[in-house]
């Protein structure tokens, strides 16, 4: 049990009612362990984002169970009123766009969540600087996001997702807006983070070139989640 970071049982998600009912997920069962970088792939509209948002306690499932670590957070209903507390303490989010807060500078963006969690400002900033240094953008710590390039902003966004020392990172097409070189470096970075920090990462991607860097592939097939091994024919660099 100690290895389990995410566990989903019989997870169902429907949108709407009656004639406009959309069945997106119909009984998903899977598990992601600590230290694992898992790719989530499926055609557009298959429910990848929805699945991530349910695991991230943003979207309420229709039924089923969700464990985050050993904690059962959803059992046909949320077991806590404070999903947002779970989000800011346990989860890091990365999206296709960086979604940085435009009126905060880089270091404020990175330290916002940890400071909200009660980490003293000095400590939060020191750790943020470590992360920014790691992503090679420490010199931009006091710039606004509008002054950074797309790639730099995406690295800040990844730093922000790591700043609260999450157990889980949910990355929704984090490389879709990047060129292939940058994409590879981001995915390698995620792999390194997963290994170094023992974080479970689910990464939605459409880019098959990214799959070799992942430990496993989850596919949404027939509204269920199926686990696959990474294709062997590509060389892992």
């Amino acid at each position: 049990m100690a290895k389990q970071a995410i566990k989903v049982e019989n997870l169902v998600k429907h949108f709407g009612k009656g004639d406009s009912l959309v069945r997106v997920i119909e009984g998903a069962n899977f598990q992601v362990d600590k230290g694992e970088l898992v790719a989530l792939i499926a055609p557009s509209g298959a429910g990848k984002t929805t699945l991530l948002m349910m695991i991230g306690c943003v979207e309420e499932p229709t039924s089923g169970k969700i464990y985050l670590g050993d904690e059962l957070v959803y059992d046909n209903r949320w077991l806590t009123k404070e999903q947002r507390k779970i989000r800011r303490e346990k989860i890091g989010f990365i999206f296709q766009a960086h979604y940085l807060i435009p009126f905060l500078n880089v270091i404020e963006n990175v330290t916002l969540v940890p400071q909200t969690n009660g980490v003293p400002q000095k400590e939060a900033e020191a750790f943020a600087m470590e992360l920014l240094d790691y992503f090679d953008i420490a010199d931009k710590a006091h710039n606004m996001s509008s002054e950074l390039s797309g790639g730099q902003n995406q690295r800040v966004a990844i730093a922000r997702a790591l700043a609260n020392k999450p157990q889980i990172i949910l990355a929704d097409e984090p490389t879709a807006a990047l060129d292939s070189e940058r994409s590879v470096s981001v995915v390698k970075m995620l792999k390194k983070i997963a290994m170094d920090q023992d974080v479970a990462i689910i990464m939605v991607t459409h880019d098959e070139d990214m799959l070799p860097f992942c430990d496993r592939i989850l596919k949404i097939e027939n509204k269920k989640v199926v686990s696959h091994d990474v294709p062997k024919n590509k060389d892992v660099i």
Partner: protein
């Protein structure tokens, strides 16, 4: 801890300040409106206070010269004078005059009084140049805001008047500039008929109207020390069958009858302006919040509690209200001197507006708060 409001305002500083200035101008106008009203009340009392009369004896069943036309015989002052407790009593007239200056005609209120009598209505403290009236005829003391210089000659009626004194801050109860002329001149202007009229009266067989007893608009009197003003007033009422008002009653008549309608007018106008300001602040906060919906959704998504986001909205709203209030005060103080009539800006009024604006800002921020609560975190990544 990061203060989101401070960061956001810093980010959109220019826009925020310009917005606060705009609302501030509106609040400045509110303050000016209140100041106009205060000025009217002050103006209404200037003449009364300058006159230092305890009692006003006016035509029976009238409210006195400030409210309606009143005529009494000048010699009534003698009858008043012999009443127990009366110290001094003199006749006084009030009339509107149009003075022809070099540039344009000015409307003034002329106070007529006997320069040799015991009560001089000119407050010496207000005399800034020249002297009191010294002669029975063709001298005039003018208020400094109508553009006549000391020694200048002004044609009034059939005669030329010489400016012998200039006062500052003297206004009629309606806020018009005051001039002072001698009682004899005033009576001639107000009560005597033109030659044409006299000729036409004679042709109609009406008795010579020029031999009328001299009239005044009111008798003003002072009361001896130790006498109760109200009982002296009662005494005059009973013996002379005239309407008698104490100074305080005259003030009441002025404020009740004359100011009340004006204050309702201005009060309503001010209330509408305050409501408009509130709506504008609310709209600004609403659009400011709408502009931030994406960021608000993102913050909710990454787990920032509502309380922090709402704090940002409330702080921004309060700061906007506060800055607008400061700008409003600056604005009103910058422009109030340009108004032709008296504008009195009182600190107590400013405080009241401050409280109203702060309450309005809090109400306005509720709209923003509602948007925050309803914001969907999932909407951050949708589209």
């Amino acid at each position: 801890m990061i203060n989101l409001a401070q960061k956001d305002i810093k980010h959109t500083f220019g826009k925020f300040i310009v917005t606060a200035m705009g609302v501030g101008m509106l609040l400045g106008i509110v303050l000016i409106m209140i100041g106009v009203y205060r000025g009217m009340i002050v103006d209404a009392k200037v003449l009364l206070d300058d006159l230092k009369a305890d009692l006003w004896i006016v035509q029976e069943d009238t409210l006195g010269p400030f409210a309606e036309s009143s005529r009494v015989h000048e010699d009534l002052k003698n009858s008043v004078h012999v009443i127990d407790g009366v110290k001094k009593s003199v006749g006084i007239t009030f009339q509107n005059l149009q003075l022809i200056s070099k540039t344009k005609p000015v409307r003034v209120v002329a106070v007529g009084f006997d320069p040799y009598d015991t009560i001089n209505p000119i407050n010496p403290a207000r005399l800034v140049e020249g002297d009191m009236l010294r002669k029975d005829h063709y001298e005039i003391v003018v208020s400094d805001n109508i553009g006549f210089k000391l020694g200048e000659e002004i044609p009034i009626g059939r005669n030329i008047y010489k400016v012998v004194g200039v006062t500052h801050g003297t206004v009629s109860s309606g806020g018009d500039p005051l001039v002072y002329i001698s009682l004899k001149d005033a009576q001639e202007l107000q009560f005597s008929y033109s030659n044409n009229r006299i000729r036409s009266d004679r042709a109609r067989g009406i008795k010579d109207s020029t031999t009328n007893m001299p009239m005044v608009n009111a008798i003003i009197a002072t009361v001896r020390l130790g006498y109760d003003i109200d009982s002296v007033a009662n005494n005059i009422r009973q013996t002379l069958h005239k309407s008698v008002y104490t100074k305080d009653e005259q003030k009441d008549i002025l404020t009740k009858n004359l100011i009340e309608r004006a204050s309702k007018q201005i009060g309503l106008f001010t209330a509408i302006l305050v409501v408009v300001s509130t709506i504008i602040i609310a709209l600004i906060i609403y659009t400011m919040t709408l502009e931030k919906m994406k960021e608000i959704s993102i913050m909710k998504l990454i787990g920032i509690p509502n309380s922090m986001i709402m704090k940002m909205i409330v702080q921004e709203t309060l700061l906007l209200g506060f800055l607008a209030f400061i700008f409003g005060n600056l604005f009103s103080h910058l422009i109030y001197g340009r108004f032709p009539k008296r504008v009195v800006l009182e600190i107590s009024d400013a405080w009241m507006l401050f409280i109203i604006i702060m309450v309005a800002s809090i109400l306005a921020s509720l709209i923003g708060i509602k948007k925050v609560i309803n914001a969907d975190p999932a909407a951050a990544i949708g589209g």
